[in-house]
């Protein structure tokens, strides 16, 4: 679209462009997702889906809020932002009320499964190495807690506690390779 001067009132008003964003990301369109799951996998997903289904009549529906947990329970590790994206950016109050049926869940799950930067063991270790000031294979527990609670998709205090239980040694240091193995092993 050719740029037009904004002052001309006769022009059909176009939406003001927001402050420059790196990329204009299109809305998630489930119809565009090609399902590549095998029938076996789909049966497995159904079982898990049923486990989460809390509807009165077992309608094979889960709430939007449960979707992220289900995807994670099935072995993916999306960020919360990614979950919100595939759900079509629902409002906070919709998370508990809006329902998702199994057929709508599949493209969402497929999309997440195909996502590229899942993060391998090496990525993870590299990510933690960033905090290894002394280069000795350990990071300060306190610093890690602070980072997890204040950056990114912040974790709550009790979640951080849960994660870090029994990981720190007497000096409050964490051997991060062991830590990563611990997290990835669940």
């Amino acid at each position: 679209m050719a740029p037009k001067k904004k002052e001309e009132p006769k022009e059909a008003p176009k939406p003001k462009a927001p402050e420059p964003e790196p990329v204009k990301i299109p809305e998630f369109n489930p119809a565009e997702v090609v399902l590549e799951f095998t029938p076996e996998q789909i049966e497995d997903f159904k079982d898990a889906f049923q486990l989460f289904d809390r509807t009165p009549l077992s309608e094979m529906k889960i709430t939007y809020g449960q979707c992220g947990d289900l995807i994670r329970a099935l072995g993916q590790n999306p960020t919360n932002a990614e979950i919100m994206y595939v759900l079509g950016k629902p409002k906070p109050e919709e998370m508990a009320t809006k329902m998702l049926d199994f057929d709508s869940f599949l493209p969402i799950h497929q999309y997440i499964c195909k996502a590229k930067d899942r993060g391998t063991y090496e990525d993870f270790v590299e990510g933690l190495r960033v905090f290894d000031k002394l280069g000795d294979g350990t990071v300060m527990g306190a610093e890690l807690r602070h980072v997890l609670a204040s950056l990114g998709e912040k974790m709550k205090e009790d979640e951080v506690e849960q994660l870090m239980t029994n990981q720190e040694d007497a000096n409050g240091c964490i051997n991060y390779e062991a830590f990563v193995k611990h997290i990835m092993a669940s």
């Binding site: 947990d69 329970a73 590790n77 960020t79 993060g119 990510g127 960033v130 997890l148 990114g152 998709e153």
Partner: protein, 732 residues
């Protein structure tokens, strides 16, 4: 999708930059996001495993309860149909015989029991004082045992107290008193002690309501009862005890309380049990707080009527599993000379025209959730088959929301044998009462509207939110507090926060499986929860460790079940493998498992822990069974089928043994064993030859003295199971 930085992230980055200067902000952000993503996945997967594990425990538990009831119904059926001469009848009449427990004089006999000088446990004096009761708590904390004389004396006094209480206690929170409400304790003394520690002992300033299920499963059921009864005696107006479905001597036979008492009190155990039988029937049925909050053990049904319940003679219902007796229907001389006509506790429906009824009056497939794997089928006895078919049809026609009352009525109507005129009315009102009480003790809430029989447990019903609304409205109440179901957090709301489940036995299924909780409630009638977990070490477990431990336990229990059903499973697999190649697909495996075990479990999700290797999505089931199979029993049993059947039914067997071991010696004769086995095989509709049973009996008589040691026999099963699974654990 990459990690796009939104505005809020940029603010965070600025914040970080102000703090540590060394780490490049963007890198730190990426690292944080990565860790957080993985953490959330970790938590979600643990939650999934926890749910599965929970499902396993719960379905096995409820299936066991159902089993118990079926067994009991079977005996009832046999009693209905036996002719006087049969020797097996004597055996069964044992089971139904309830000796006269009416007269006080007999109970005073405890006075003749001497307490020896050597006894170092607590001495009780009556009337009991607070310090006496507190002393008792301390003594039990220190693992002392109360002398049987004091036990009996305490129980007699408690009985005296309980029988003057109304069916439904009315209490109030006036004087700004906060009331404490506790749920199931199930013999977990450490939980009761923990509650007292956190909340204080009962007193007039600290009133308590205990909501049933004090006994069974845990190992200190008797101590819990003694403590609760002591405080009842000391503070009669401030301690309220509701009856639970486990305050029932029939249930106790299976779930451990009977065994506990007989083990702890070898000389007077039977007497103690008999007295408790009576006491249980005198426990009040419910408590109402400020006319607004109803507290009872199990739940309600659409016919629950508190006015009716407050008028029944509750002590008539010694066991909720027995239908009430109607004198008119009794056929004299059927049972034998030990029938006491004036003994109100001998409840037995004598007329041969009446069919044996399960507690729920129906036996058909009920789907609590529409998903097929949840459906459970209750077996019928052959006699009632045609009627059940008709009920099934009606039910399908009527739809799921048909109320229990309708079904009950259709049962009555379609009983082709019954004579509607002979004493029908009397029986009806007894039936009504009985149903009210069973519903109160055994029911569970369900998410959908309606009221359907509780086929999972085999007693009571499932009731929905609309029933809650109606019953609360009908009685002008605002909240129903109940127990009966184990909850992860110790408590759980449902039905729009009108129903509250409170469960006070922590680590119920396994160490770390759940917390316990109790409620504190003041005049505002708003419940406040205090949660806890007994056993210090569980608190130090990480989430994964406690999930892992509970999971291992559940899987062990599940594997035992699999082994017990091996033949049936192999047959089911072979349906999908007609050419007997020994392999089936995972999908078929899952269907077969559910069809045989009927536990409503998510088999596909459990597959990885139960099955192991598959090739091309196909499972070699023979190999699987070999891996699963348990090491040989120490006696050489040529009949593998028999072993399997025995293993599968060892709980039932044990129950029966304990019944027939009337002198509590732990021994039963070979003849009794043979009879028991024959009975059981009729119940199970399996075909086991007399010779096989005789051989078995002889082989189990290890020391060849003509009698079988029950404990030794039962130990054999535990040992066998333990061996294999120990090995498996080591391997992992």
């Amino acid at each position: 999708m990459g990690c796009g930085f939104a505005k809020s992230d940029q603010a965070q980055l600025k914040q970080l930059n102000r703090g540590t200067s060394i780490v490049p902000a963007a890198t730190a952000m990426r690292a944080a996001l990565l860790i957080q993503r993985w953490y959330r996945q970790y938590v979600a997967r643990l939650e999934m495993r926890r749910r599965c594990t929970w499902n396993i425990f719960q379905s096995i538990e409820y299936a066991g309860e159902q089993d118990q009831i079926k067994l009991y119904n079977f005996f009832g059926y046999l009693m209905d149909h036996f002719t006087p001469a049969s020797s097996e009848r004597n055996l069964i009449s044992h089971i139904f015989r309830e000796h006269d427990i009416g007269r006080d004089v007999e109970w005073e006999s405890y006075k003749s029991i001497e307490v020896p000088e050597l006894y170092s446990g607590p001495h009780l004096s009556f009337p009991m004082t607070f310090s006496n009761a507190a002393e008792l708590v301390e003594a039990f904390k220190n693992k002392q045992q109360l002398h049987s004389r004091y036990v009996l004396q305490l129980l007699v006094e408690s009985w005296r107290r309980l029988r003057i209480l109304p069916n439904i206690s009315q209490i109030s929170t006036c004087h700004s008193k906060e009331i404490t409400i506790c749920g199931d304790l199930h013999g977990h003394l450490e939980d009761l002690l923990l509650v007292f520690y956190k909340n204080g002992l009962p007193s007039s300033e600290r009133p308590y309501v205990f909501n049933g299920d004090y006994v069974d499963r845990g190992k200190d059921s008797l101590e819990i009862l003694l403590i609760l009864f002591s405080f009842l005696l000391v503070y009669p107006n401030d301690v309220h005890l509701n009856r639970g479905n486990h305050e029932d001597h029939i249930v106790n036979l299976r779930y451990g309380f009977t065994k506990e008492v007989l083990g702890k009190y070898k000389l007077h155990g039977k007497k103690i049990l008999k007295l408790l039988q009576k006491i249980f029937s005198w426990l009040p049925l419910a408590t109402v707080i400020d006319h607004k909050v109803l507290v009872l053990h199990g739940g309600i049904s659409d016919t629950t009527d508190l006015h009716l319940l407050s008028r029944v003679d509750r002590h008539k219902y010694v066991s909720a599993l027995r239908p009430p007796k109607s004198k008119k229907q009794m056929r004299s001389g059927l049972i034998g000379s030990d029938l006491e006509d004036n003994d109100p506790t001998y409840e037995f429906v004598g007329s041969s025209r009446r069919r044996v009824r399960s507690l729920t009056h129906t036996t058909y497939t009920v789907t609590r959730h529409e998903a097929p794997r949840r459906s459970l089928q209750v077996q019928t006895t052959r006699v009632t088959y045609s009627v059940e078919e008709e009920l099934k049809k009606r039910r399908r026609q009527a739809g799921l929301s048909q109320s229990y009352r309708d079904l009950h009525n259709s049962t009555m109507n379609s009983d082709l044998d019954s004579d509607p005129d002979s004493g029908g009315e009397l029986l009806d009102s007894n039936e009504d009462e009985w149903k009210q009480i069973v519903d109160l003790l055994w029911s569970d809430p369900m998410p959908q509207d309606g009221c359907i029989p509780n086929d999972v447990r085999g007693g009571g019903c499932y009731w929905g939110p609309n029933v809650t609304e109606e019953v609360l409205r009908r009685h002008n109440l605002t909240l129903l507090i109940r127990s009966h179901e184990c909850k992860q957090e110790g408590y759980e709301f449902c039905h729009n926060r009108k129903v509250l489940t409170i469960f006070s036995a922590s680590n119920y299924y396994e160490v770390g499986s759940n917390r316990g909780a109790y409620i504190r409630m003041g005049p505002d009638l708003v419940p406040h929860f205090i949660q806890y977990q007994a056993n210090r070490s569980t608190r130090e477990l990480t989430l994964r460790q406690s999930v892992g431990q509970t999971e291992r336990s559940a899987l062990k229990a599940l594997r035992e079940k699999l082994f017990a059903h091996k033949s049936e499973l192999v047959s089911a697999f072979q349906v999908y493998d007609p050419e007997h190649k020994g392999r089936i697909s995972l999908g078929n495996w899952a269907s077969a498992m559910e069809a045989v075990l009927k536990l409503g479990l998510p088999w596909r999700m459990l597959r990885s822990q139960l099955v192991g290797e598959t090739v091309d999505g196909m499972l070699d089931y023979q190999l699987w069974f070999r891996e699963l199979s348990i090491t040989e029993h120490k006696t050489e049993l040529s009949n593998a089928n028999l072993l399997e059947t025995m293993y599968k039914n060892h709980s039932n067997l044990e129950t029966i043994f304990r019944i027939i071991d009337t002198d509590n010696s732990g021994l039963i004769s070979l003849e009794e064993f043979r009879q028991t086995w024959k009975l059981l095989s009729t119940h199970l509709q399996t075909d086991i030859s007399d010779k096989a049973i005789s051989d078995l009996a002889v082989s189990i008589d290890f020391n060849k003295d003509g009698s079988i040691d029950i404990n030794e026999f039962m130990e054999a099963f535990r040992l066998v199971g333990g061996d294999l699974l120990q090995h498996e654990d080591d391997v992992h």
